[in-house]
Amino acid sequence: MSQYVKKDDDLDEEAEYSPFSGIEKGAVLQEARCFNDAQIDSRRCSQVITKLLYLLNQGETFTKTEATEVFFSVTKLFQAKDPGLRRMTYLIIKELSPSSDEVIIVTSSLMKDMNSKTDVYRANAIRVLCRITDGTLLTQIERYLKQAIVDKNPVVASAALVSGIHLLQTNPEIVKRWSNEVQEAVQSRAALVQFHALALLQQIRQNDRLAVSKLVTSLTKGTVRSPLAQCLLIRYTSQVIRESSMNGQTGDRPFYDYLEGCLRHKSEMVIFEAATAITELSGVTSRELTPAITVLQLFLSSSKPVLRFAAVRTLNKVAMTHPMAVTTCNIDMESLISDQNRSIATLAITTLLKTGNESGVDRLMKQITSFMSDIADEFKIVVVYAIRSLCLKFPLKFRTLMNFLSNILREEGGFEYKKAIVDSIVTIISDIPDAKEAGLLHLCEFIEDCEFTYLSTQILHFLGIEGPKTSDPSKYIRYIYNRVILENATVRASAVSTLAKFGAMVDSLKPRIFVLLRRCLYDNDDEVRDRATLYLNTIGGDGSVVETDKDVKGFLFGPLDLPLANLEASLKNYEPSEEPFDINSVPKEVKAQPFAEKKSAAKKPTGLGAPPVAPTSTADSYEKLLLSIPEFSSFGKLFKSSAPVELTESETEYEVNVVKHIFDQHVVFQYNCTNTIPEQLLEDVTIVVDASEAEEFEEVAPKPLKSLPYGTPGQTFVEFEKPEGVPAVGKFSNVLRFIVKEVDPSTGEAEEDGVEDEYQLEEFEVVAADYMLKVGVSNFRNAWESLGPEFERVDEYGLGPRESLKEAVSAVINLLGMQPCEGTEVVAANSRSHTCLLSGVYIGNVKVAVRLSFGVDSAKEVAMKLAVRSEDAAVSDAIHELVAN
């Protein structure tokens, strides 16, 4: 290889000596012409390929034509016999990833190599061919691949198996036919062949639990040669354990003995994998944990950083669920605090903070203090959060911990780190009353010299709520007013709000606060002046010292129980006029985020793609639409609009869906119709509704649609009267009636005469859930307590066999049409019981809170206990009726 390097010698005599310096794409592409020479110079060609690979590796891209040209010349190299050159040829073909029409050119050459006598050729040809091939070609070579899987040469067998794993993603049906051969390869004597075969076999069968279970059963008894394969087997075993425990078998855990046996394996990789698997078993007992913890403890004192890291990371996870089990390792952990590798040290500290007992806290904090100065911010944040949870665990130790936090708050640090500290202090203050005064003073000192506007405003807001309730509120005023003098406009404005809160709450401070607020009237920022004026007026700044009334307190301290997005939309719609903006007109319903969007966001937390599109506000557009129709404008405020219900199959002649709009005394059905036939124009479109199964409803008037041309959706409405405030339910069947006119597709003109026609639609129901608004509460417990037990109704229901607990929970949530609170709609995998909290507002503005407890037994029979609290007994009963039916 050194020849071409020497050639470049005279070009390159710099200190940084590189055979590739001054390399240029155009020149290399020029050189690549040597591939076409009649007499192939293998050495030279190898060098050129290396240069091409170097360019690709350095981020150079070839245009389509360039790549094609290189690819075609490369195919000529199959004539050469030189094995080294052949290997490089394989490599460059893979890198160029030719398009499917180009692949054909090399297919025959590669197939020839696949059947050659040289094993290295065969293995590589298989890998290249499988990488660039498509489905059709695969059927042609399938026979060879099956043979290769059971080939006696391990390199060839592995190449075929690994290719199978990749092909399974694109052509599963073909790869699944190889089961028998793969099964045979699992028994191979070659360690890595066994590993690859096991991986492929499991993936082929992953949807067949029984088959995976059988596979695991047979292999855990047999011999597995390679540590990698053993690790895979351990993973599959824990998967089988997870699934079998879900089916409710009791007694001894299957395969535990196998896992425990692996703890005595000679390879550390296997021991570690088994130990981790044991710690992750669901509902693991301390007896089961002990042997795993013991081996992990041994790893803690290993000389290899990787081993120490792996062990401490696993123990850290165990400490979250079983802190007592990890305490035995505390001595080894403490010595890791001074570990060279900062990741290990941080993990050790956080583990200790989780497992430590109350008496050890002081000593531990001393050790951490010296350590904090020489680690990066991201590690410090982890430590801060660990200290916060420790403080909540041992409230008596708050003095030590709070001091520590305030000390590190004063040191240098980035925004995220400071924010973590501030958040932690705030949490501690909220949870430990004794810590409040000290904590608030620490925060005050911090904002005296804080470069982050966001943190300053957060702290000022918090001070405004907590400060007035302390024994001596006046001592905070200085810190707050300093902000008005020294800071930027944003901070000044929030300082003004905080001052006002002190003024409203503490009557003795009022005169002094007024003086300060009046000074703010001359601020050079609008917002600051506006706020000062507003507060002076609301809390009576005209000099008279009066009791602050309840409304003002509500205004200053009450939560804004409106979703901000809704408020923003309503404000945008508001047109300046005589009529003041009415905050009650803002819809309170939380808009559901489109599900797909959430999913993609979760998948790619660091994605560089376009920012998610804001959800279109459907409720607003409905309301606007309805208000624009004079007949409906007298109905009052729209209570709720349902999601569209499809009344036709998709891809039929006419597509119709219905949206149910609920008003206090009326219900309006909005039928969205789409005509999918280009040759037709529909006119006088009406919906004939049969409400015989909906007794309480009385039809008022349908509002027909004049014309419905092809492709543009149109709306027709039918309105019903119903008793006021009553959640009337019923079933409605519908027929679409219209006059159809033929349209000449070439001119787009409709004929004069039309024919009357009908089209049967599916029926739909108005259910009680339509009268329920999804309104979330931030603190369910408070909402629950405030509703009181007066109208509480509790009952139990059997839901029969369900697919899964998760499915049952979401079915009930949908049935009730309420907003799940505090993330309780998420059911943990494998859990046998679940509690779900829901809240909503029922028609007539009745607040409702629901507590659902689910349980599932081994036969998948789901039972549910439903507890409802509301402001009205009738509503509580109505909720129960909903479920009972």
């Binding site: 290889m1 050194s2 390097v5 000596y17 590189s18 055979p19 590739f20 293998s42 050495r43 190898s46 060098q47 390929i49 290396t50 690979l53 170097y54 590796n57 981020g59 016999k81 030189d82 094995p83 080294g84 052949r86 290997r87 490089m88 490599l91 893979k94 040289t118 094993d119 290295v120 890998r127 990488r131 592995s158 190449a159 690994v162 290719s163 794993i165 990749h166 890595l192 590993f195 690859h196 991986a199 540590p227 990698l228 690790c231 550390e268 990789m269 570690f272 981790t276 290899k304 950083p305 990787v306 081993l307 890291f309 792996a310 990371r313 060279q340 590798n341 990741s343 660091t606 560089l608």
Partner: protein, 172 residues
């Protein structure tokens, strides 16, 4: 599942790299990852034993030999020791292929061997081979003279030479 295998120089510049996921979709995303990982590990001493670091929910194991820095990245649920085995295999194989002269210049001169080496260790994320000798053996076959018959025997020969070189470099 291995996410990438990197061989960088002491300033974090690429010698040879291979990515197996689209977690870093663009060239600049890849470069940014390499720069930050190099920056993060710069001050550590990963010469005698492989070191390890958590990085954006990935586990990165790494090892430095002279001015060459070897990295292997895997997801955070990956077995750290398996990744370390891949790293060991990679650095061993490179040591064998460079006949003990593991440095930047030598690596560039034998870049073809390094590329082949990467190709033999991991195939689209799946671990192919972890034993340095075996990897080097598979790569070394082609460094023989033109037209030499390729058989099991030559692989063994190549391996023997490689091993000999290793022992020599160790004794030095």
């Amino acid at each position: 599942m291995v996410k990438n295998v990197l061989l960088l120089d002491s300033e974090g510049r690429r010698v040879a790299v291979k990515y197996y996921t689209d977690e870093w979709p663009t060239y600049s995303a890849k470069l940014a990852f390499e720069r930050s990982i190099s920056c993060k590990t710069q001050k550590t001493n990963a010469r005698t034993e492989a070191e390890i670091v958590m990085f954006d929910d990935n586990v990165v194991v790494y090892k430095f030999i002279q001015d060459l820095h070897f990295f292997v990245t895997g997801g955070d649920c990956e077995n750290e020791l398996a990744l370390a085995t891949v790293l060991q295999g990679f650095s061993d194989a490179v040591t064998l292929l460079l006949r003990g002269n593991v440095d930047h210049g030598e690596a560039l001169e034998n870049l073809d061997a390094i590329f082949l080496c990467l190709d033999e260790i991991v195939d689209a994320g799946m671990i192919l081979e972890t034993v340095g000798n075996m990897i080097a053996g598979k790569v070394a076959t082609h460094n023989l003279d033109d037209g030499a018959p390729l058989s099991e025997q030559t692989i063994t020969q190549a391996l023997a030479t490689a091993r000999e070189h290793l022992t020599r470099s160790l004794l030095r």
